[in-house]
């Protein structure tokens, strides 16, 4: 039986938590506002008691897979353990029940948290200037490409194109387009890295920037990054690091040393803030010194023991968020780096790389890797052998769900046939990796012995395979749509 909707649970007259009675003389909405500005009917919200609401959401919640349950190896999403202390610190009333417009004198603790996080992150990235205003990675991209435009305009010509490798995340070309540039794709070579010759052909005086994910989405370190930086800079363009895969570099390699002019961080990936079923994320953008004037307004400054926001930023691209970004995520990230410290941070990437390579080594007997050799923190398998047996990557992904584990990212990057992109992260134990490997090897056996079983999967999940085409054809997006469909409305 599927879980009812809130509307289906609603019983007229039921109530949740109550307010105190009004303690000032009541005037009534009709006296305070013109009648035509009041809504005629009450909003169609449900009427449910508190215990029933709690049961509703608890029953919904247990239908989810989540990182506290089992491995969640979504490639490029960095589904690592989210330490509980982080949440506890972010929920301290003095860090949560505070208003963005209370005076700076009464917000020094909040500003100190942001300041200290900035010190840690700039040290980790090897880059001097920073903003934590963007809400997520894609907004960091937008911020950086807007800054790129401002930079080039200041140098006399906004330029026309931004280059993205064919293995890039969809956010890259989408961002480029949103900022009014043309996205130019460069192919990857046989080694999975950017094809330098192709890049040289594309880079010109029209090039505003190159957006590079390093390690790339194949889990391969772009070892020519120094040369790429030289080519891009010689053309007067800027080099952006999409930090989606930063978990492979924390404490191990320095984006600043590689010549990146911009580098973004997803706090919800590398710095362990919870993914929240889709968000909030936490966006951090680090930049080279001479790009700092273009950073979003305001920027945090320190003078002696006092912190303050600087709004006097004539060359800034302006604001990208209502206030100062996802502050609660900044608190969590600071808590995380302080927990890890020098030694713990150094462990993150090393153990993440070890885990990925171990899993890759265990799986390549059955699945074709996109590329041979060691990987960084993630790797891509192709289900091409299984496809020959009539089973596709999507079937394998669905079958994994039957074993209580989450599937890898599928069909990405686009340049690998039947891609399964696997990122275990450093917080999985060897036992957990072994269990996941056993599941994938079992499924491979099934593709030979009983392929129908894989194609029928999942059968052990709260619902079986869902008809996505029907959802798109017959849009049912609200309770009202549902009722109209059933003919109740």
């Amino acid at each position: 039986m599927p879980e009812l909707t809130l509307r289906e649970r609603s019983v007229k007259g039921h109530r949740g938590p109550r307010l105190l009675p009004l303690d000032v003389p009541q005037e009534g909405a009709e006296r305070l506002l013109p009648a035509e500005r009041l809504r005629g009917d009450a909003p169609g919200l449900p009427e449910i008691s508190e215990p029933a609401v709690v049961r509703h959401f608890v029953n919904l919640s247990v239908l989810n897979h989540h990182i506290d349950k089992a491995i969640y190896p979504l490639g490029s999403c960095t589904m690592k353990y989210n330490p509980k202390l982080n949440d506890e610190m972010a929920q301290l009333p003095g860090l949560q029940a505070i208003h963005p417009f209370q005076s700076e004198e009464l917000s020094q603790g909040a500003l100190a948290v942001i300041w200290e996080l900035h010190q840690w992150l700039t040290a980790i990235m090897g880059m001097p200037a920073i903003t934590t205003q963007p809400a997520a990675g894609a907004q960091c991209e937008l911020t950086a490409i807007l800054m790129t435009r401002a930079y080039h305009v200041a140098h006399g010509n906004p330029r026309e194109e931004v280059i993205v490798p064919d293995s890039a995340h969809g956010t890259n070309p989408s961002t480029v387009n949103q900022v009014g540039y043309r996205a130019v794709t460069v192919p990857s070579g046989p080694d999975g890295c950017v094809d330098l010759n192709a890049l040289k052909q594309e880079v010109s005086g029209k090039t505003a920037a190159l957006m590079l994910t390093n390690p790339n989405t194949l889990g391969i370190f772009e070892r020519q990054v120094g040369e790429i930086a030289r080519i891009v800079h010689e053309a007067g363009a800027l080099l952006y690091l999409d930090g989606a895969n930063l978990n492979a570099m924390v404490g191990l390699a320095s984006p600043g040393a590689m010549g990146f002019d911009f580098a973004h961080i997803n706090l919800h990936k590398t710095f362990s803030t919870p993914h929240g079923g889709g968000g909030p994320g936490g966006g951090v953008l680090c930049v080279r010194e001479d790009l700092a004037p273009y950073l979003p307004t305001p920027v945090l400054e320190r003078s002696g023991d006092r912190y303050s926001w600087n709004y006097d930023r004539p060359r800034s691209i302006g604001r990208v968020h209502s206030y100062y970004g996802n502050f609660g995520m900044l608190v969590r990230a600071l808590c995380y780096v302080k927990s890890l410290g020098t030694t713990g941070l150094a462990e993150v990437s090393r153990e993440a790389i070890l885990n990925a390579n171990y899993l890759k080594a265990r799986l390549t007997e059955a699945y074709a890797p996109s590329h041979e050799g060691y990987c960084m923190h993630e790797f891509v398998l192709s289900a091409s052998r299984q496809k020959a047996r009539g089973v596709r990557a999507v079937d394998i992904a669905k079958r994994i769900l039957d074993f209580g584990m989450h599937a890898p990212t599928t069909y990405f990057p686009l340049i690998v046939d039947e891609a399964l992109m696997i990122e275990p992260t450093e917080t999985e134990t060897k036992a957990s990796l072994d269990a996941f490997a056993e599941v994938l090897l079992t499924i491979d056996r099934e593709t030979r012995e009983d392929p129908e079983r894989v194609k029928r999967a999942p059968t052990q999940t709260p619902v079986r395979r869902l008809d996505e085409a029907r959802a798109a054809r017959k849009l049912t997006l609200t309770w009202r749509d549902l009722e109209a469909e059933r003919g109740d409305a």
Partner: protein, 462 residues
Amino acid sequence: MSFVGRSEAERREMLQRIGAPSLEALWAAIPPEFRVRGSLPVDAPLAEYEIARRFAQWAESNADANHYACFLGAGVYDHFIPAALRSLLSRSEFATAYTPYQPEVSQGTLQSIFEYQSMICELTGMEVANASMYDGATACAEAAHLAIGATGRRIVLVSEGVHPHYREVVRTYAAAGSFEVRDVPLERGATAVPALKRLLTPEVAAFLWAQPNFEGIVEDGLALTEATHAAGAYSIASADPVALAVLQPPGKDGADIVVGEGQPLGVPMGYGGPLVGFFSVRKSDVRRLPGRLAGVTVDLDGRRGFVLTLQTREQHIRRERATSNICTNQGLMALANTVHMALLGAQGMREVALQSMEKAHYLARRAAQVPGVSLANGEAPYFREFVLRLPGPAAGFLRAAEKRRILAGVPLERFDRARSQEILVAATEKRTREEMDRYVETLAEWARRPAKAKVEEAACRS
């Protein structure tokens, strides 16, 4: 501290299986000159209790709404958040899942998004809502972007009654050259309809207005939308979801897009983040919608289930032709909105709105009786927020109030230097009569101070 569970023996065994001579061999691809030499210039790890001690010190040096009576608003409000909401939101099943890419093991998240979309539409009077945007400001910017795409026109008019920061964000997004922004002035706190009509040329794609607006004033949404439609442009409302429990929803006024900030619905003020933007449209624009969207379908056995739908609008499929570059959104905050509306229900939501409005009016009237103090927007109808004009620099009064543990208002000088004697004051259902009477008392005491003293007190603040 470490969150890695690994023994030396396991590490050896793993390397052996990989066939690697050493751990370092695994990252030989990173040229040595790009590696971190030695250790990072950061601190040593701390134990949990030491971290807790340091964060407690930072927390204690902030003024929080448990220790101060908070009359600050301007987009973020100190409304009541039920304990059951906090409990549900802290569940790992919701907090540590990600975007529901595998719907068979994400029905909890997907159905919650569907309920969220439904309730946002009930509030706004619209037909389709997405799964959330970053915040109210970016929702406005994306709405402008949608209207540009839909109309093929290049100008977006923005009322000066829209939150100044939202206006800044819209300008930031517009700076890419995809559209131009023009301001529509206010008159006695509300958008000036004659000025709007003058500015509504055939190149105008959309008019963005706020309900209630930044100064707390309830706009005539019908008049604004009718004028906008007469010019063939999109009417975009940025609405306060609490107000929508009692106000005519912009959707009923005919608005084409209704967006807004969801923070007042169960999200902590959090120093301004994480927030959550809502975004709702008519069905005719569903294919232009940015972000995630959940829909109903059936599984192989014919059981009802939920999936992300119309994903071909999105960046991971459509790449440079996507409706927006948004990927990660504010899912958990949208869930907070959902649980909040479920807990309070139709009645509770209405009560929160009505009590906030009554209290704001109680405070405004008493404050305006203090000699020298007045309501800047006169008789214009307002919801739970209003602008007070003071007999002296606002900074001095705010400081005097802080000493009495009152956060008395947002100084409008932040946004307009000419408005140094005005503050924006909000009241929610949480404010008590005692707090409001203390507020007025503090205001009266300060107002009685000699003009010279007021100026000096204000100066020593900055």
